[in-house]
Symmetry: C2
């Protein structure tokens, strides 16, 4: 067994059984090792697709995927979606091919400071230094990535480490990634705050927006009158009819501050107090009212389900029935496409148990409330703000959940960053419906131009915001990568295209002409 085979065997033994790969010459032995039948390899034509897909996989599985990237520049191409994954607390094991150690001193063209590139966006970086030790390194990488919250682990793999004999390998015992028990005094403190009857908002983040933690939060809300909310962006929310509903703090500074102003207390769960996404002249960074007190219930590495259990105990409210979102039947809309009719179409068409990946920005941003009472679904959002996350994350989520349809809602500008995802979706016949909101513009920047106090954009500035020369032909784009497509320009056609897309397995693309 050579080093590469030892590495792949260790990954699968440790539970990492998928690799999103964009290989190059220095990774040929790793490719050979991918013959291991326990490892699924998924080819991506751009590295940002690979890292984004690993993020999508983690969001749905809560276990890390691996990526295979080609030296420093291959890692660089994957970094933007590693940033997004890191901000989403998604664990990931990145394997970065590298020149042999003896070759590096000659500074061949592809040489770069891989550690330097990896460190700003990794929690853990290691350079494997022998074929013998690589199993150990790989096991450590998986353990690190599997912690809660998920961590970015980056393992640099010199060529000789790959091709040399590994001999007998040793791996460390598995470090279980137990979530810490929250501090009892802190729970007591929050219970006192909630008992005070003063207006309180509990903001749920990361893994507390799902499962037991969410259900128990719903009981706390009923028992105390506290409001439940989420940040504008959350890694994944279990949402829709029958789930505990969370009020979404608005994106823009003024409505966010209006939303928050009457709360005397903000209680944070696996998240921090709300801050503005960007800074604007003469606008505050913090969104809460001055005087509002912030109380963390759960820190990022603690167990929020347990914390809510302790809180319910302290409140004596264990037997309370949780707050539940009722089903809201929405009629299929007709007529012109606009944010409201689009939201109605979504609400009517989303099938039970689907996954919605949202990067719709201006089109979808303000109207997602209309889908609160839709059939139960998971909603995934962009945590890092780097555009081009949706189509890769949808790809990874569809691989993680082959029985569920993924709806990827994405603006036309955003879709172009990592459009190569469509090819992997076609290749793997993934159940992804990509919905392109084609307004031929970086429309969000028009609003932000004004928010920034930059006045009315002039002709040259506008030409940097409008992407209508040429108009992207989205049906041709889908065809180019083997994905079926349809274009719609009415609400009823959009609704029909959504429901049609579910009937046949495999990917499709809907161009929504705005």
């Amino acid at each position: 067994m050579n080093g590469a085979e030892s590495l792949v065997a260790t990954l699968v033994d440790r539970g990492v059984d998928i690799c999103f790969a964009n290989p190059g010459t220095s990774e040929m032995h790793f490719l050979a090792a991918l013959e291991n039948p326990k490892m699924r390899s998924v080819l991506c034509l751009f590295e940002g697709v690979a890292t984004g897909a690993a993020d999508g996989w983690y969001r749905m599985k809560d276990t890390p995927a691996s990526t295979l990237l080609h030296l420093g520049p291959g890692l660089a191409n994957g970094l933007a979606n590693i940033h997004n994954a890191k901000r989403a607390s998604s664990g990931m094991v990145n394997i970065i091919g590298e020149h042999s150690t003896s070759h590096l001193k000659y500074d061949p063209p592809l040489t770069s400071d891989i550690e330097g590139l990896a460190r700003p966006l990794s929690h853990w970086v290691r350079r494997a230094d022998s074929a013998r030790a690589i199993a150990w390194d790989a096991a450590k990488a998986v353990d690190k990535a599997s912690e809660h919250p998920g961590q970015i682990a980056t393992l640099i793999l010199p060529g000789d480490t790959s091709w040399r004999e590994a001999g007998t390998t040793i791996v460390p015992p598995r470090e279980t990634a137990a979530r810490r028990t929250p501090d009892a005094a802190r729970i007591e403190h929050v219970a006192r705050v909630l008992r005070s009857g003063e207006p309180a908002l509990i903001i749920l983040g990361n893994k507390s927006t799902r499962g037991l933690a969410l259900e128990r939060a719903g009981k706390v809300a009923v028992a105390t009158g506290a409001r439940l909310g989420s940040q504008f962006f959350t890694a994944r929310i279990e949402r829709g009819a029958g789930r505990v509903p969370l009020a979404r703090i608005p994106y823009a500074v003024a409505p966010a501050r209006a939303f928050l102003k009457d709360f005397k207390h903000i209680i944070t769960v696996e998240t921090s107090e709300p801050v503005a996404f960007f800074s604007y002249p003469d606008k505050p960074s913090l969104l809460k009212e001055e005087g509002t007190l912030v109380h963390p219930l759960v820190e990022a590495d603690e167990d929020s389900a347990l914390a809510f259990e302790m809180l319910l105990e302290a409140l004596g409210a264990n037997a309370t029935a949780p707050l539940v979102q009722p089903r809201v039947e929405t009629a299929a809309p007709t007529g012109a496409l606009n944010p409201v009719s689009i939201a109605h179409a979504l609400a009517a068409a989303l099938p039970e148990n689907c996954i919605v990946v949202d990067e719709s920005l201006t089109t979808g941003r303000e109207t997602m409330g209309y889908t609160m009472g839709a059939a139960p679904h998971d909603l995934i959002n962009n945590m890092g703000g780097s555009i081009g996350y949706a189509t890769p994350v949808a790809t990874g989520a569809a691989l993680a959940c082959p029985d569920r349809r993924v709806f990827c809602m994405v603006g036309d500008g955003s879709a172009m960053y990592t459009i190569q995802s469509l090819w992997t979706q076609a290749r793997e016949n993934l159940n992804v419906t990509t919905i392109i909101f084609a307004n031929n513009s970086y429309a969000i920047l028009k609003a932000e131009y004004a928010n920034m106090g930059a006045g009315t954009p002039g002709e040259r500035a506008l030409s940097m915001i409008d992407i209508d020369r040429p108009r992207i032909d989205w049906q041709a784009m889908a065809t180019s990568m083997g994905v079926r497509s349809v274009a719609v320009d009415t609400a009823e056609a959009f609704h029909k295209a959504m429901t049609d897309s579910v009937r046949e397995p495999g990917p499709c693309l809907i161009e929504v002409r705005l």
Copy 2:
């Protein structure tokens, strides 16, 4: 005048009058400042297109372009082509938008360590700390980027620095980027080596493969019998009939060693001794024969035209006529497409003064020799080895030289990394003919798999190398971004498509079906 306006005004005053931009919210004041009529703004739908285009601009102009990128992840998306530009010694000024200083402590989603991401691939990194001082910082960035060899200068622009009043600005005096005079003793030493009559190879790199330096090298060759060569990859070569011909050192280790083995001396000019691109088990990293002596004539920052003048003086060979490549008329080929017929078609079709950007890898790599006697042209190659350089570099080269046709030869796998270039080419109506060699495979990896001693690829490894499921429909891809296209499957059709492409301004794409 605010900080952003001061920045743009300083850039154009200092001679940087084009900006390849992919803006976001934090760069709205910079967008507004782009109303400055002296600055040309070119919108790119992906950051790797922007940085690669800046590289292409520099290769043809020898002066830096600027890029505008959105925070750390925007920079990250541009890094792979910054790596390629750095290795090509292309100067570039990157402006990276950033949160306001006061906003950073709240760690909003798009926050990352921008300096950390920039440093591994920049020669100079600075964070602007006031609107007042930004003119100074910008002038320093331009001066740094304008040095010889060209440097990567990265200026981080916090939002408040952009929107605050700049007041009266001060800029440092322009530091002229004079190239250093080569050491006279070194020139004398090389003259002695060449006079010895022992077999010598002079390897020209960077800017010595053009203009006066190249012409003078051609005189040295005639006067001394030394052979003139180039590395397999060179930033830009003036090439074809009437130019001094350079023998290309082969890519693969065995033929490269065979090429070099009879030389007792290697003389390097703005480059280093040849090394293998990758490391392979049981193959050497250095390509020269043991015992061959390496003599630098010119270091990277010295003036190679001057060095050759001094060398000719020392040799008493000033009056020698240089070696000149004769015109070789190539008949338009017919029949099947293969590397030789493709090279013949290129040789017959390349119009005088065109620019060839080569990322053809397996298809074009070994047969470029057939175009040595074609009409005079410039040949640009990938210096950093990060795939996805060609379509952006062709974009920048076409903007730099609007009167010249650019032929971008690119493998299908390579083209997919930065395919968004086509859209910018359509938008700016650039004279680029993109030639896609569609073998539906990362064909180079098949050869490298064997070179690595990894045996015959199994089914799973092969599935990571073949990109034929689905086949990319290149005509649909061109259509999607507004570029006309044609597909060819014979040598005569390819030749005709090449010559047709020149007749009409604007971009087109030729799919060469292999």
